[in-house]
């Protein structure tokens, strides 16, 4: 009998527990839903952090951003976020360290010369020059290349920008020290410093190309006086905002390059690429003869000076990097994103990378 009673008990208890189990299931479901929503929100950030701070270039395929660029649209924030999380679907570009910023960065005014030479670390600068309609927005970054990082040797690139009040123009320079000489980083630093010094004091009405000669002279004296073993390429530019856009003068010695981007198309302003695959280049202080060029660029253009570690991945007929940046540089990116873009990931480009980009508004 006792056994029967015992058997009957659970049936009654189970009947009484139905509302309790239902309530429990409901609570578990709500909890799971909350968890799922939280994980979903975190996944975007996690994925992008896992990819590191570089843009990855792969052969083939067109990224969502490129398609959007060709369609002349700017992605709303929600689509940009999707672009980040869709990286694993085989798009040529993976996400950056951070999603697109919800607010524009505060742009500090370029009040004095800025010289960037980060032999051991990555550096990024952002700001603006000029005022009102003649305002240009600047991004500059330098990244120590994989090759130097692997060898434990310093990066040898340098760049700088300054505003010439008399001429109402921005002066920019990028120098790339020759890897075959140990002190080339210092020489690149001196070359940019020389351009900034001479560019800042250049009087209105004088030819900007005249900056190169005294700057090269300073480099030569530095090398001779300190008996250093170093040499550098140099590309320099003056960007003078005008009512139609900007007047750009470019000069250079060696394989650092100048480009401008407009309407999704890249045009080279200065390059000395060789066709024989040799890593030989003209350089300071031995060769101080610049190849100068002047061009007018319309509003919406981006003028870029860069060392060959970055510019070598650009091409006028399209390249994976060029296509991506054409899509992403319709507006000045947040500074950290710009740094990540300069630090794009590609196994073939192991050299130091430096880029100064100027948006003509």
């Amino acid at each position: 009998m006792r056994g029967t009673e015992v058997l009957a008990e659970p049936a009654r208890a189970g009947y009484d527990l139905v509302p309790l189990v239902a309530a429990l299931l409901f609570l578990v479901s709500v909890f799971a839903l909350v968890l799922w929503l939280r994980r979903r929100r975190e996944r975007v950030v996690t994925r992008s952090v896992q990819t590191g701070t570089g843009v990855v270039l792969r052969a083939g395929g067109t990224s969502r951003s490129s398609k959007q660029a060709s369609a002349g649209r700017r992605s709303p924030p929600s689509q940009q976020r999707f672009r980040l999380s869709s990286a694993k679907l085989g798009n040529p570009v993976r996400g950056l360290a951070f999603g697109p910023s919800r607010r524009r960065p505060t742009e500090p005014a370029l009040t004095s010369a800025v010289l960037i030479h980060g032999p051991w670390f990555h550096t990024v600068y952002h700001g603006y020059g000029g005022s009102g309609a003649a305002r240009v927005v600047i991004r500059a970054a330098t990244v120590r290349g994989v090759a130097h990082a692997f060898d434990g040797t310093p990066g040898q690139d340098a760049c700088g920008i300054t505003w010439n009040q008399q001429r109402q123009s921005l002066i920019a320079a990028v120098a790339d020290g020759l890897g075959s000489k140990p002190d080339s980083g210092d020489v690149a630093h001196q070359a940019v410093a020389g351009v900034l010094r001479e560019g800042q004091r250049l009087a209105a009405g004088k030819d900007f190309a005249a900056v190169l000669e005294p700057a090269a002279g300073q480099v030569r004296r530095f090398v001779e006086k300190n008996q250093v073993s170093g040499a550098t390429t140099l590309v320099l530019s003056e960007i003078r905002p005008t009512a139609e856009g900007a007047e750009v003068t470019v000069s250079g010695v060696g394989d650092s390059e100048a480009w401008f981007l407009h309407d999704g198309a890249w045009t080279v302003l200065h390059h000395e690429r060789r066709s024989d695959g040799e890593n030989v280049t003209r350089h300071l202080p031995s060769q101080a003869q610049g190849r100068a060029r002047r061009i007018r660029v319309p509003h919406g253009s981006v003028v870029v000076l860069a060392s060959d570690g970055f510019a070598g991945a650009l091409g006028m007929d399209g390249s994976p990097l060029g296509r991506e940046l054409a899509a992403r540089w319709r507006q000045p990116p947040p500074p950290v994103e710009f740094l990540a873009q300069v630090n794009f990931e590609d196994e073939f480009f192991t050299d130091d990378r430096t880029a100064v980009a100027v948006w003509i508004r």
């Binding site: 052969a59 083939g60 994989v146 090759a147 692997f150 790339d176 020759l178 890897g179 075959s180 000489k181 040499a231 390429t233 394989d255 390059e257 045009t267 080279v268 390059h271 000395e272 690429r273 060789r274 066709s275 024989d276 695959g277 040799e278 890593n279 030989v280 280049t281 350089h283 031995s286 100068a292 060029r293 002047r294 061009i295 007018r296 660029v297 060959d308 070598g312 991945a313 650009l314 091409g315 006028m316 007929d317 399209g318 390249s319 994976p320 990097l321 060029g322 296509r323 196994e347 073939f348 480009f349 192991t350 050299d351």
Partner: protein, 259 residues
């Protein structure tokens, strides 16, 4: 848009360019390389050491991100005739390394001729292997690291310099433009090394002879260092000469010229 230059120098910038390097490691596998020094064990013969060390050299080279990504390496052996131990492939590709055939001679002419014929095929293969959408592949002039311990000898006789020099010249002149570093083990003929090697306009050549105390392992490490020196860096006038690898001395000039 206005420019100061009537014709914009656009052509070279039509596409992004990647630079790639071909490296030949050429190993003398003649009888003398298989003979250990007096009193040494048979496994201490230089050839056996190099055969064992080649995979290690390739691993050391692959450790460098620059060489790993932009260089392709081929290993050749020669005695009576040349043979490919490792075809020209990038270091990221795992490729079996063959065992050298037995032979007796040190036929410079045949191996140099073989390289002249092989180079265009290697360039094509590397171009195909590296081809990527939107990028142009530039293949730089090849570097040849020629490791030997003897003087040219073929068909039971010393090989006349003129017999192999004609192929050496075809290899080092354009369109191939190879740069040769001749690395002599103890006993190698200094004059031959000097004549084989290329160099700069100042008369300095990449002809080296190793110290007797240097072990094959140190020598192979030096070859790796020399290869790393030779590529990847922007230079002012082209990397025509490399620094003397550790454990080796540069041969200043041929003795015959001095006499």
């Amino acid at each position: 848009m206005t420019t100061q230059q009537p014709t914009a120098p656009f052509e070279g910038a039509r596409s992004a360019r990647i630079r790639t390097y071909l490296i030949y490691i050429v190993l003398d596998t003649s009888e003398s390389m298989r003979t250990p020094a007096r009193g040494a064990a048979p496994q201490d013969a230089p050839l056996q050491h190099f055969v064992n060390l080649i995979p290690r050299m390739l691993r050391d080279l692959a450790d460098s991100p620059v060489i790993n990504s932009i260089a392709s390496v081929s290993v050749l052996a020669f005695n009576d005739r040349p043979e490919v131990l490792r075809p020209m492939t990038s270091l990221v590709q795992a490729v079996a390394i063959g065992k050298p055939r037995l032979g007796y001679g040190t036929d410079y002419a045949s191996v140099l001729k073989f390289m002249v014929e092989q180079h265009p095929k290697d360039v094509r293969a590397v171009n195909l292997g590296r081809a990527r959408e939107g990028l142009t592949v530039d293949v730089a002039r090849p570097w040849v690291f020629f490791i030997t311990d003897g003087r040219p000898y073929a068909r039971s006789a010393n090989q006349e310099t003129a017999e192999w020099m004609v192929h050496r010249d075809r290899l080092v002149n354009l369109p191939i433009g190879a740069r040769i570093a001749a690395i002599g083990l103890p006993g190698a003929d200094r004059d031959t090394l000097w004549e084989l090697a290329t160099g700069d306009d100042n008369g300095s050549r990449n002809a080296f002879i190793s110290d007797r105390r240097t072990t094959p392992r140190e020598l192979s490490g030096s070859v790796v260092d020399a290869i790393q020196q030779s590529i990847g860096m922007s230079t002012s006038a082209g990397m025509l000469t490399i620094e003397s690898p550790v454990g080796m001395r540069r041969i200043d000039r041929p003795r015959r010229a001095r006499d």
